[in-house]
């Protein structure tokens, strides 16, 4: 297992649209293990392959308090069930230190493949539903800052660019 480097906003590679996984093989499972290790060490509750510069439709999530419920979503698709929205203060491992309230559909169904390539379907609730949609945005090259005002986005961009300069 290895920890992977996470791309940080405004890195243009985060805007790449991911392609579906054709075969869930050992190399995909290796990537999934590394993604979990990377996510847990941050710590985060969700990570999309796009964030570690692998532009395949792979998402790992664990919203439990004690890292006991790892979930894998390969080639995920969602169906929105009704118009009700749910708002949550989201943060992102690619936008460290910033949290903004984002509204997303509350009731959804997710269909995806698991780490063995088996298809499954679930009806997530609360934080898990938020997290899946946040990660699927990554696969489409979208970030949660796209939902906030341009002024706020610019402020976040400036602050992160400054931190990245200092680290470089």
């Amino acid at each position: 297992m290895a920890q992977l480097e996470i791309l940080e906003f405004p890195d243009p590679r985060l805007r790449t649209v991911a392609t579906p996984v054709e075969e869930v093989d050992d190399s995909v499972r290796q990537l999934i293990d590394d993604m979990f290790e990377t996510m847990y060490s941050c710590p985060g509750i969700g990570l999309a392959a796009s964030q570690v510069n692998v532009h395949k439709q792979i998402v790992v999530i664990d919203v439990s308090e004690d890292q006991s419920e790892p979930l894998v979503f390969i080639n995920p698709e969602i169906t929105v069930l009704d118009e009700e929205l749910f708002s949550y203060d989201e943060g992102c491992l690619s936008i460290p230190g910033f949290y903004e309230s984002v509204e997303r559909p509350k009731h959804i169904i997710v269909k995806a493949l698991d780490r063995h390539g088996e298809e499954f379907e679930m009806r997530p609730e609360g934080l898990l539903a938020v997290c899946i949609q946040h990660e699927m945005d990554h696969l489409a090259g979208k970030l949660f800052v796209d939902y906030v005002s341009p002024v706020k986005r610019q402020r976040i961009r400036k602050k992160l660019e400054k931190q990245q300069r200092i680290r470089a």
Partner: protein, 462 residues
Amino acid sequence: MATYSDVRVQAAQVIARLNTHQETLAQTLPQALDKVAERDRALLQELCFGTLRWYPRLKQVYLQLIETPLKAKEADIEALIFLGLYQLIYTRIPDHAALSATVDATKALKKPWASKLINAVLRRFQRESEALLATADTSELGRTAHPKWLLKAINQHWPNYRDQIIEANNAHPPFTLRVNTEVNTREQYRSALNQAGIEHEPCTFSTEGITLNSATSVDNLPGFREGHCSIQDEAAQLAAHLLQPQAGDRILDACCAPGGKTGHILEIQPDIHQLVALDISEKRLQQVTENLERLRYGQHESAGAKEKTETNRIQLAIGDASQPDTWTDLEHQNLNLQQTHVFDRILIDAPCSATGVIRRHPDIKQLRIVNDIKTLADLQLSILNGLWPLLKPGGILVYATCSIMPTENSDNIARFLAMHTDATDVALAGPWGIAQPHGRQLLPHVSGHDGFYYCVLMKQAG
């Protein structure tokens, strides 16, 4: 995706890392602040600073409550107990809220077994607080909330000022501004503060200083982003004036980061020939650049004629102050400072024990040990020795520390003077501070200036 981390979990980790890895608040707190919600940031800061400010007293209570010491790997649980005690004794957080939130933090730390322990310890404290505190305060450590080595040094060097120093070290630091007199006078800026409804008092010793009645965010300060004022303690504001920069001077500001005094020198003498601002840390020089940019002395992106001159006039340099031949510019090109007699003025704001600013860095109580002082004094002397040849005959060198230890201050200057016959110690009239065999010492005052030391040395001509 990431979510907020719990504020007490982060506080416990900051304090645990200080105890196990000697990591300072300056190293760990910024990252911890990034992990909690914006609304929790002030609380995280308060919990870390407060717990460390009272740590030696809290420890006297802790030792009565815990019979067998916790293992080193449980440093975060130990820190949670200190945090719990701090909240119960010193904050207005309702006891039941402090208790449940502190106990709950064990879950996120993945040590649910500890919830019983913390609950039991804190509840026992609630029941027996009076007796436990009374016993803690029978020891000098408990009464003063100062570690042994520091008490010993204060008793030895400042017996007449002991209570004042201890009280100031345990107080919240004042929030003091320096008005940029190139832009506005102190009176003008005071009107701006009045208009903004910010209560304040002018400083006694610094003619540019204003102390606010309570701390505020810089965003509330009129014209802060435009460079109308800086945040700087009154004691630190004396440095630039002691340097007496003259028009046409070449000036060295050694150990300059974060650039507070650098900006001040430019404010009081805009007509200098050149200012070299040196620091050993390239990362911290970035802060200097930002400070100077805010004060409008920065290297602007548009390449106008005035900006061009500014770039040549202000030279940022990276290097060890004791070895001028190794200094480089920001592109890592050597500055070729092998020659002597380069500067009319040199300011050394030396790295020091920071024992004069404990209220701003309460982690010093836990971090410093006696041997550090001697090591620092040797480092300071090597910087003085390294820079002295660069001073022109007739030139002035100002030596400053934010220490209250004579070993780093007057005694160190005595060592230097014994080695350099062409150096004279210029008498300082005050009225600030206390006259020392060499230079003057400012001791920290509650709601007054920080602890600081100054000595002015002149190089004899010929």
